[in-house]
């Protein structure tokens, strides 16, 4: 291969990223709450040798307005809990990484940690999580336990600070059992060596958590933690706490700047030696005939006008391959594509784009590792408590 190959993931959400996707001929809008629909999508992603899928989620019902609920009835409304869905799909696949989106503000870091550890068990080391914050007052009202500051900057500082604390707790809990804590020593009658279990004793403004986890250290040691980042606070979260950041640059120069901010935060956190992937998100409408792709996007937009937070590409898979090859020069190690329409654009990715990238030597021709960390070139990390000796 000429260069370092690219990594590729897809974002799965409802009938596709575009709000008019559910009305396309190939869409299956009445099946969005069935396991079979999602099993088909993830099998298709695995057929295309993709690194991972992320399954989108939110606390509240979907809304076309990013800052408030709506009462529209002409778009997909209603969804499944992404973590449960990820676990349901995991045993049906063998290679692809699976990352549910999980809100880490409002929720309990302890439960998030054991949930993702369990996902890692049921997928034999292919689990991860995309963490997100829930910033709206109507999200807070679903839990009823806090008020949300009205000043937006103060709010984002608070929420991303909390998300950082949550990831710290989640990660410490994963390490709170050393790999060899289960000894099954019949001679002394001890199932575990409790010296190899550790209290995490996290204390912060939003929660304190004692530990250890109730779940033994997951197969990957540390499942993959990702976040979507559009601005300074989440850039810092990616650099400080994540293995993978999804960003939405306008062009290669912008991507370069964004990566710079993430690397700064990474260095400030003392993580220079670690791999932190930065992938660009891109919504895609694909067709072998590029004008057919552009017509389709125009038709979707005519049905339901839409602007995405990420770039939108409409064209042929080969053109997309050109674009990805160009953008990666900014230092991006991969891309998370958001199929505008499911399953149509996912199949274009796996059956059009992937072979094209393979021809160029830019994408794997077979799964080279059995865990998600392995696919991402991340080593299985040592347990942070193992060298520290016993916590007691």
């Amino acid at each position: 291969m000429p260069d370092t190959p690219l990594h590729l993931g897809v974002l799965l959400d409802g009938a596709g990223r575009h709000p008019a996707a559910w009305r396309e001929p190939g869409a299956r809008p009445a099946e969005l709450l069935t396991a079979g629909y999602w099993a088909d999508l993830v099998a298709e992603a695995e057929h295309g040798l993709l690194d991972l899928v992320t399954i989108d989620d939110s606390l509240g019902l979907q809304s076309a307005d990013p800052f408030a609920p709506d009462d529209r009835t002409d778009q997909v409304r209603g969804r499944l809990d992404a973590s449960m869905l990820a676990a349901r799909i995991a045993p049906l696949t063998a290679h692809v990484g699976i990352l549910p989106t999980v809100v880490v503000t409002h929720t309990e870091p302890f439960h998030v940690s054991t949930t993702i550890a369990t996902l890692d068990y049921v997928s034999s080391g292919r689990g991860g999580v995309q963490v997100r914050v829930a910033a709206r007052p109507d999200d807070a009202a679903l839990f009823g336990r806090r008020t949300i500051p009205t000043d937006r900057d103060a709010l984002l500082r608070e929420l991303f600070g909390e998300a950082g604390d949550a990831v710290e707790v989640i990660r410490r809990l994963w390490d709170s059992w050393e790999d060899d804590a289960i000894i099954r020593d019949a001679a002394t009658g001890r199932f575990i060596d409790r010296e190899r279990l550790h209290y995490i004793d996290f204390e912060g403004p939003h929660f304190s958590v004692r530990g250890p986890s109730i779940t033994p250290r997951p197969p990957q040691g540390q499942p993959v933690v990702a976040a979507l980042a559009h601005r300074a606070e989440p850039f810092a979260l990616v650099g400080t706490s994540c293995d993978l950041g999804f960003v939405t640059p306008r062009d290669a120069a912008d991507a370069h700047a964004v990566i710079g901010s993430i690397r700064e935060a990474q260095a400030a956190a003392g993580r220079e030696g670690e791999t932190v992937h930065v992938w660009a998100d891109l919504t895609v409408v694909l067709d072998d005939d590029p004008s057919a792709a552009r017509d389709r996007l125009a038709r979707l937009d005519a049905t339901d006008p839409y602007t995405d937070d990420a770039g939108v590409f409409a064209g042929a898979p080969a053109e997309l391959a050109d674009l990805l090859d160009h953008l990666r020069t900014a230092g991006l190690s991969g891309f998370r594509l958001r199929p505008a329409v499911l399953p149509d654009d996912l199949r274009q990715i796996t059956r059009g784009l992937v072979p094209e990238l393979q021809r160029r030597g830019l994408f794997r021709t077979g799964y080279e590792a059995s865990t998600l960390r392995g696919l991402l070139g991340l080593p299985r990390p040592a347990d942070r408590y193992a060298t520290a000796g016993s916590a007691r």
Binding site: P29, A30, G60, T73, M84, I89, E108, T118, Y121, F143
Partner: protein
Amino acid sequence: MSRRQMHLAAHFPGVNNTTVWSEPESGSQIEFSSFAHMARTAERAKFDFMFLAEGLRLREQNGAIYDLDVVGRPDNATILAAVAAVTEKLGIAATVSSTFNEPYEVARRFATLDHLSGGRAAWNVVTSWDTFTGENFRRGGYLAQGDRYLRAKQFLDTVMTLLDSWHGDEIVADKAGGEYLRNPDAGRFDVHVDQFDIRGRFSVPRGPQGRPVVLQAGDSDEGREFAASTADAIFTRHGSLEAGQAFYADVKRRLAAHGRTEDQLKILPATTFALGDTQAEAEERGHEIRRQQVSGQTALRFLEQVWNRDLSNLDPDGPLPDVDPLVVDADAPRVSQGRAADRMYRDPLATAREWRERAAVNNLSIRDLMTEVTSRQSFVGTPQAVAEEMERFVEQRASDGFILVPHITPTGLDEFADKVVPILQERGSFRADYTGTTLRDHLGLAPLDTHAKV
């Protein structure tokens, strides 16, 4: 001849001494393959459901993490979502605390689990309240023991309000007409009670069962009342025929006051078994398992749980201590923490008196006594004898069925499935095959009226 039908469930082996981990055939308590194995066995035997218990903090005794039993479990709802992928009919029951969760999340999880399993989800609502477990959570430990059912009741009601906020007919997904949802208010809820003050729209449309099957495992007067008012099944520890009949009569009697009938609440005791080709062989095997379950060390730890004192200096093969149990307030920390059963001995002084008498009369050591009082199998005998005895419990109204607790992970149910279930089926007391698709169907519970709470 039509016999009274029994219900059967499989308890995935838990983190107490019932589970024997030192045998060569004892497998992993955490790998998915173990859960898949037991679920497939249970489904092959046409069981109603598989059940998982929950504990949200590792147990401690005398200030250190308890290491004599199996330790370490998955997140229940998550592992059961995966189990749904490898089964088709088996119900899946997750114990989830009403204290260390919020209704919105629990409703999302169970609605999702119900969709992903095609209507097989059940929720065992437990009312843990201890500060010890609370140290792992935002909420911390704040519930007084007396408030646990207040919160549990409001929690359950709130979850049901959320689940009922969708009726099941809202999604039209009409591509041509452009109408996805029939009703712009689908999912809207507004709850103002003293434990919860929440509003908005619930994000998960109605699952196949509408609501998960609700299990309850409390035993106090309040716990029984809670179950009688809301649960579809009770998981109980009352295992003997007499205790079972008393419990059964007590709980069923409470139903009428809540406008419910006897068939709307199933009583399912935790049940252990030892099988053999002859009665003598089964007895011997049962005895051997009990000795494995109650080592000398385990016996001392048990005694400490009742005495609420550090007794590690005692000889497990010697007599009971002269010192009396230390009695503390219900909410006070104890020598053992994180065990739901700790509060089972509501009068430790009386328990101590009774045990001393029993030990004196039969000349029992601590270990002998603990082996007798803690873990005798419910049914010991040939497959034929066990099948008949189980039928007797059901016919004589000591239970509506059983939650079987095997002592080996994950193969501990295999022998029962292969040897006892065919006899029950032959005799007509247990289904030969599933007749419905949802867990409510298996349990003989009527489908819910989807517009019940409009």
